[in-house]
């Protein structure tokens, strides 16, 4: 069976890619997508952990799955909200480029 470490490394890589995306992307929409990636990394981690917790790969602990489902739900709401705000930004300023979104600084 696939060891837990493998899942954890996958999750970590995915999380790092998401984090990189947040920092590297200039479009607000892509940034939000990168965050989604990070949340998925979390989900992978949770589910893998849940399945390995008794050391035999048995479905002994359901908490991980439950948490993952919650996270998926909340993330969906979060994206919806974020998109609404980004949309509003587009209406107000006709841009979603975060380089241009710095009226306020220092």
């Amino acid at each position: 069976m696939v060891p837990l470490e493998a899942f954890q490394v996958l999750s970590a890589v995915l999380f790092a890619i998401g984090l990189y995306g947040v920092m590297a992307r200039r479009s607000a929409v892509l940034i939000v997508m990168s965050i989604e990636l990070m949340l998925n990394a979390v989900n992978i981690n949770l589910i893998a952990a849940a399945s390995h917790l008794d050391g035999m790969g048995n479905w002994a602990n359901f908490d991980g799955q439950i948490i993952a489902i919650f996270i998926i739900t909340v993330a969906a709401a979060e994206v919806g909200l974020a998109m609404a705000i980004i949309l509003r930004m587009y209406r107000n300023r006709a841009t979603v480029n975060v380089d241009e979104i710095n009226l306020m600084k220092w």
Binding site: M23, R26, V98, K105
Partner: protein
Amino acid sequence: MEWAWLIPVLSFAAVPVIIVLGRFLTGKVSHRSAAALAIAAILGGFIVFWFVFAGFLAADTDTPGCETGVGTEALTCNYKLTWFEAGIPDALTDSFDRIHLEWGILVDPLTIAMLGLATFVALMVQIYSLGYMHGDPRLDWYYAFHALFIASMLTLVLADNFLLLYIAWELVGLCSYLLIGFWHERPEPREAAKKAFIVTRIGDVGLLVGILLLWSHVGSFSMLETFAAIEAGELSEGVVTISALLLFLGAMGKSAQFPFHVWLPDAMEGPTPVSALIHAATMVAAGVYLVARAFPIFSESQTALYIVASIGLITALGAATIALVATDLKRILAYSTISHLGLMMLSLGALGYTAAIFHLLAHGFAKALLFLGAGSVMHSTEELDVRKMGGLRKVMPITAILFSIGALSLGGIPILAGFWSKDEILIAVNKELPLIFIVLTLLTALLSALYMARAMFVVFYGKFAEQFEHVHDAPKTMSITMGLLAIFAIVFGLVALDLPGPFKGIGYFIFYHEGHGLEFVIWLAALSIVLAIAAFIYGYMAYARKSVNLEGARQRFALPLKVAEGKYYIDELYQWSIDRVVLSFSRFIAWIDRALVNDVGINGPADVTRLLGHGLRRHVTGYVYSYALAMALGLIGLAILWWIVST
């Protein structure tokens, strides 16, 4: 005798009354009441003085409070009252943990002599002022200051402890400041007053330090206890010498000894009666009095005595030369005062205790007379430059006669008071000090006679100066007081003789160690008489008859003359050092304070903080991805930190 404290207190009490009355009464009424109060107070003091004098003559060691003094066989009476205490009352550890201060009076011959001189001269001067200051708009203040002045002086001579002496000492300084600067509308008196106060204050620093130094070794401010401790050898010789010199520093300031003499000539800017009071009986006498009072300290230190004598001689000689070339009548008298104070110090340094006090008294009467005479001249002519005067005896005969008496007395013409006292000084100097001292002292005596002759002959004799045609002689208040002083200037010297009765002559009255009768060294007396008479004759020829031409001498001695006329440039030196050194230093410190201590030391950290804030704010760039970056870095930082901490 216990009531001696009344003498100053009467005058002290008059001060607030005069001031308050001055606020409520107006014009002449207030002036008259002020004068009346002040004169009544000092008159009361003068009367009490006679009771005290009589009481003292009658007292012996059985009288309460009286015993034989320290280091002298003279009777010393002491009465005191607690003022306040500070520190630990029970003084568990040692007496240095507390101070116990007292209002105390000490009555001994020295005090009696000073009391007599001060009350009498002050009384005369105050009466004289009635005429001289007539019509001054601030006469009430004048008399208030006068009363305060004389009260302080009397306290000074009565004080039984150094602290009280210092208090009175400072008050004397203050009053001299107020009186010299009485006509503060003109800049000169203002400056002179300030100068007098500050210069004497510098000496006072020494005095206070000396007093405190003595306290820190004796544990008491009481003079008698201090003297006893010194006699018992409780203090090391170094401490005695240093404290004696510190006390002398104070005396130098007040008695205008070189190099602190500069304030005295300038002090002539005050009203002339004030000059008379300061120079004859009060302020300048205080320094001599202090040295005499603390003589048990001085006499323990040969070094101190030597320095006192040297300073005295330098002062006496230097001032005499300046007096010879000065052109302002009052300044001639001022330098003469300095010179004679120098002689007194010299005498003290030569262990001539009696001679010094005797000369102090004799000089006091004569000098008061001379100043009042000069005041009379000035009052009438409104002129002080001797070069413009001449033959004034024609219009003011009384003043002329009285002034001449004073001048002759001070010049050392026999029978008159000045002769006797000067003679005693010469004897003391001859006995105790090297040859050079007596030579220079005799030279000083000669110069002294010469400048007195010059002043007297230039002003009152010789060719009459026509512009003073309509000048009148002094009013009655002035001439009577001068007359009384003149009597003293003539006859006071006779106390030097051995007299019958309880007062056996000054040598048995005021003395250190033990009393002595009249001493007379024929060759010295003869020499001094010859010198004095020669000086007056020469003066008559040169200044009244103009039969001696001085021009040749002037040209030959041009340089020394210039230096003497420039008062040895000591004033300039002081002025320079104050302007260029003290004030520059002060500005420098003020600049340091602003530029360094404040702008760098205080503002600096504030500015750095503000700059830090302005720099740091840049880290919030406004770009959302850099916020994410910061979070990521922070996160990594936290993880690393955690790792470091847990391993």
